[in-house]
């Protein structure tokens, strides 16, 4: 790695190095967030005791993994795919945003259509029909069969 050149340190196992560092980061956030909470008093655990124990241990183990990533060779991190994950997440977000204002019917249909664009084999006509079928199935199951309190249509 160019930036580290002079120190002659090389990340030998990026999976472990960056993975371990991220865990240390998460543990640090937890330690900061629980810093104000009560600790042990007269053998009585405070609200902060257990979280701090777990976060502390996580920081140690995470640091260990990161260190091992510097010393021992290992596989590279595979490239993160973009298209698939982006559409999957967009579909879930669309559902979360649409289900309240527009009702289950539209939310389900849109979610299906957004999700299916994540596939690079998507075909329009087939998708439009499948989305309609799935929407009908879900409404039949959740609203009519299970009688869950969903709002079906947009509220005007």
């Amino acid at each position: 790695m160019a930036g580290w050149g002079r120190l002659a340190v090389r990340v030998r196992n990026p999976q472990n190095f960056y993975g371990g560092l991220a865990l240390v980061g998460l543990a640090a956030i937890a330690l900061i967030a629980t810093a104000e909470l009560a600790g042990i008093e007269d053998a009585r655990f405070g609200a902060g005791t257990a979280p701090r124990i777990f976060a502390g241990l996580l920081a140690l183990v995470g640091a260990g993994i990161a260190l091992a990533g510097l010393l021992i060779d290992g596989p590279r991190i595979e490239r993160f795919a973009f298209r698939g994950p982006a559409f999957v997440i967009a579909a879930i977000l669309a559902f979360a945003m649409l289900v309240r204002p527009l009702g289950l019917l539209i939310a389900t249909y849109v979610t299906f259509m957004v999700a299916i664009m994540g596939s690079n084999e998507m075909r329009w006509i087939e998708s439009l029909i499948a989305a309609a079928a799935m929407t009908a199935f879900c409404i039949g199951l959740f609203v009519y069969l299970l009688k869950l309190p969903f709002q079906l249509f947009p509220a005007f």
Binding site: T34, I40, A43, F45, A68, G84, I89, T111, M134
Partner: protein
């Protein structure tokens, strides 16, 4: 003995109730479906269906969810044999010999042996659950907070030892799960912890959100980024479902051994169906007089893992029902299902709700019987399902998951949270962190904290209590021993070999 029969009679009267029978059938059908379809795991399915069980009776709900778990073990073998893709992680090893048998025109025999092996294992392990229920519940009464804490430590260590890949990373996942489970209001003092001022977080991170994210959404994201290789369903007509006499004779001992290994690994915390099937296959190959037959269509290579995974799926209910401790991720979800219905898993279930306890056990046997019928004569239907392309399957799963999560609390925050965990799960997989220990620890976290707190309070803050009480000391010693075994590099290498084979 008579008591056992009495109890089983009670169980069957509950299980034979038409409504419960229906739920058992639905569970078995859904289980077979997700088992057959690659790309949908058992954990994700159970998580998906949690909200559906809301409106059901507790017995019906649990019967159905249990049916999904062991049903998936049956269905997984169909895909392994016919397509050479494991329908379920538990059927990975079944591909090796099962698909070879199919290529030699013996697909029918392979499927039949898989079903017979599963059925036999299901019957034996159902009896085992029934027989071990009472004594283990008695044992649970001897347990104080220190013992419970020690037992959970042992369970988590087992999960570490049995997880694939690096021990250190599995430990990290356990600790991360424990830490995440602490988010939300402290049960004892009511103080908000790590909520960062977000109101929704004071109830804690919902378990369904985590499970759906790291198992459901993350799996879909991962599958989408793989290149879509065509699934080639073996088109040769499945004929000759009846195995020959010779098939039965060669596979009978393998079925027995597989059942034994599976039952044991199912009971152990951290074990479960996946590990059981690997262990049974490896064992069978090792003791075989002619190991070179394996991988070329040896019928034992189908019989042993298929009996083992089914046995393990069922015996893993033992620690949950008797001690209240989930031994694996699916059982952790069962805890969630029980909690939804106001049932606290543990020894008191058997005494306070005998109909639930015995009804579930009896339904397991009935479910197994149904599964033989669902899987053998109807195998053609399931095969045709495999022709549904993944590009239509995954949006359906996403839609289903979204509605499911939303309906738990009518909360859009829950949906967003599970999306976040989906991304996180994808990140974990890129860094080769296993999500299963994380989810297990996430469920055990609050229980562990509570018992640790109580143990320390009773002992007036003296940590040595865990080492001076005999049961607790024994459990901790076993845990420490296992951890040392796992960390010793030599043994780790051998452990990795098991999974490479």
């Amino acid at each position: 003995m008579f008591e056992l029969l009495d109890n089983l009679a009670l169980g069957f009267s509950v299980a034979f109730n038409p409504v419960n029978l229906l739920f058992c059938l639905i569970g078995a059908l859904v289980g077979t479906l997700v088992g057959v379809l690659p790309g949908i795991g058992t954990v994700a399915t159970v998580a998906m269906l949690l909200p559906i069980t809301f409106g059901l009776s507790p017995v019906g709900a649990l019967i159905m969810l249990a049916g999904i778990y062991y049903g998936a073990q049956y269905g997984g073998s169909t895909t392994s044999v016919l397509v050479n893709i494991p329908g379920e992680a538990t059927s990975v090893v079944t591909c090796l010999d099962g698909h070879q048998m199919a290529r030699q025109g013996r697909a029918g025999a392979a499927l039949a042996i898989a079903a017979i092996a599963s059925f036999f294992a299901g019957c034996v392990s159902t009896l085992l659950v029934a027989a071990l229920g009472k004594p283990l519940t008695g044992l649970a009464l001897l347990f104080g907070p220190a013992e419970y804490f020690a037992l959970m430590v042992l369970g988590l260590i087992f999960a570490v030892v049995l997880a694939r890949g690096s021990v250190g990373k599995a430990i990290a996942m356990i600790l991360l799960g424990l830490m995440l489970s602490m988010v939300g209001a402290d049960l004892e003092t009511g103080v908000n912890r790590m909520t960062f001022g977000v109101l929704e977080l004071s109830d804690g991170i919902g378990f369904a959100n985590v499970a759906m994210g790291v198992f459901g959404f993350a799996e879909i994201i991962r599958n989408l980024s793989l290149s879509s290789e065509g699934r080639e369903v073996l088109n040769a007509k499945v004929s000759g479902l009846m195995p020959t006499r010779k098939d039965l004779l060669t596979s009978a001992p393998a079925i027995g051994r597989g059942t034994l290994i599976g039952s044991l690994l199912g009971i152990l915390p951290g074990g479960g169906a996946v590990i059981a099937s690997f262990a049974a296959y490896t064992f069978e190959k090792r003791i075989s007089k002619n190991p070179s037959r394996f991988g070329r269509g040896a019928i034992e290579g189908v019989a042993a893992p298929e009996s083992a995974n089914n046995a393990a799926a069922q015996t893993s209910f033992i620690p949950l029902l008797t001690l209240g401790i989930p031994p694996n991720a699916v059982m952790a979800l069962m805890v969630g299902a029980m909690t939804i219905h106001g049932i606290v898993p543990g020894p008191q279930v058997m005494t306070k709700q005998p109909d639930l306890f015995w009804g579930m056990i009896a339904s397991m046997w009935l479910g197994n019987l149904m599964l033989v019928i669902i899987n053998l004569p109807l195998v053609g239907i399931w095969v045709s399902l495999l022709r549904v392309p993944y590009r239509l399957l995954f949006p359906s799963i996403i839609v289903f998951c979204c509605i499911g999560i939303y309906s738990i609390n009518n909360s859009t925050t829950d949906v967003l949270m599970s999306a976040a965990f989906g991304v996180f799960g994808y990140w974990l997989s890129k860094h080769e962190f296993e999500p299963a220990p994380l989810v297990l620890a996430f469920v055990l976290g609050p229980l562990m904290e509570e018992n640790l707190r109580r143990a320390m309070l009773i002992a007036r803050g003296d940590v040595s209590v865990f080492f001076t009480r005999p049961i607790s000391a024994g459990l901790i010693a076993v845990a420490a021993f296992l951890l040392v075994l796992a960390i010793l590099p030599m043994i780790r290498k051998r452990r990795d070999e098991v999974f490479v084979e």
